[in-house]
């Protein structure tokens, strides 16, 4: 008799705890949907096409490894395949406004790196614009800048 009562009481407790949990998760999910933290990544499909050189999830996690590997292959062995090259990244991901991948939090590289607080030092040496991109789109100032003095 006592055992049955105890288990019934326990059941009530469990049910109420479950209900509270559900409610709080629901509330959290609702608030998350309204103000989901994260960078605003703008990709222009007209320039970038439908997909990256690898899956999006893979690229988010591993793009730096691909770039590091390609960097050494190109620098030391002269292997200049396009697929994982930094130039290829810019080719697709440069903003259609100014053909650059950095400059503001709306630019592809900078948007994520600002959010993740990861220092981005590729662009201290590498060009943020491509000659071909600059000349292919009507951006006279950009193409002049890229032509080099």
């Amino acid at each position: 008799m006592m055992g049955w009562l105890a288990s019934k009481r326990m059941g009530k407790w469990a049910a109420s705890i479950f209900a509270v949990l559900c409610l709080s998760i629901g509330a959290y999910a609702a608030s998350g949907a309204a103000e989901k933290p994260g960078p605003t990544i703008i990709i222009d499909k007209s320039r970038a096409g439908d997909r990256c050189v690898e899956d999006t999830a893979f690229m988010r996690k591993n793009h730096m490894k691909l770039l590091l590997h390609q960097r050494d292959e190109t620098m030391h062995k002269g292997i200049r395949t396009e697929k994982y090259s930094l130039k290829n990244c810019i080719n697709c991901h440069a903003s259609t406004k100014d053909n650059s991948v950095i400059g503001s939090d709306e630019h592809f590289c900078q948007s994520c790196h600002t959010y993740a607080a990861v220092k981005l030092d590729c662009w201290e040496c590498h060009a943020t614009k491509l000659k071909s991109v600059a000349s292919a789109t009507p951006a006279p100032t950009a193409s002049v800048g890229d032509e080099k003095k």
């Binding site: 292997i79 200049r80 130039k87 201290e124 040496c125 060009a127 890229d146």
Partner: protein, 257 residues
Amino acid sequence: MNHPHQDQKNSSPAVDEHRRNFIGGSAALAGITLAPSVMVYGLAHSKPNDEPVTNKVRWGLLIDASKCAEGCTDCVTACFTENGIHLPSIPPKETDPQWIRKVELKDTRTARTQSLPVMCQHCEEPPCVDVCPTGASFKRADGIVLVDKHICIGCRYCVMACPYKARSFIHEALTDQNPDVPRGKGVVESCTLCVHRVDRGEQPACVEACSAAGHEAIIFGDLNDANSEIAKRVTTRASVQLRADLALNPGIRYEGF
């Protein structure tokens, strides 16, 4: 003008090649084990993008000083344009980068003057590579001496070690780089023999500019390829290496002075 010749290297006690030979021997052993996997391609100029450079090729320049026009700086300008280097400040600053420069020679007895371009000599035994503490200064398999700026810490040992004063240190932040030629503050750089063009099968910018100016004073080619124009020229005509007494075997050769 006194130009020491290659055969002086054996008589000079200053260069101890023992260490070089020792290291070279180990490298050769490594080469044997790697050799089967290396694809041999017929035409060096059209290396496929996905294949590494090999030591079958030794890129070099032959500069004919007798054809080099005094006062002409087309090669220097072309180098600056190609590599995204801003033209020297006016007045020039000591910190201006300099990948290639025109040197005026004057025979003090006859007062005859000549000029010729001097750039990184792409040595077979580069002192800059010997002294580099990080491995940033390196020689590619095809003989082109480069700085891996990702690894360079800007210590400038190589600048001091180079007998040709070929290297520059970048003191200020740069913008608007050429996409093919990344350059930045805090690292050392020098003539790359326009490696990005060479890998595409093109000639260095200075060579092209010299031809365009009608001087044809600079020839680019593969010193290992007996059929190349440069190899034919160096085997049939007298040419010298600058500071041949150092036994560095530069890939840049000079003739006509």
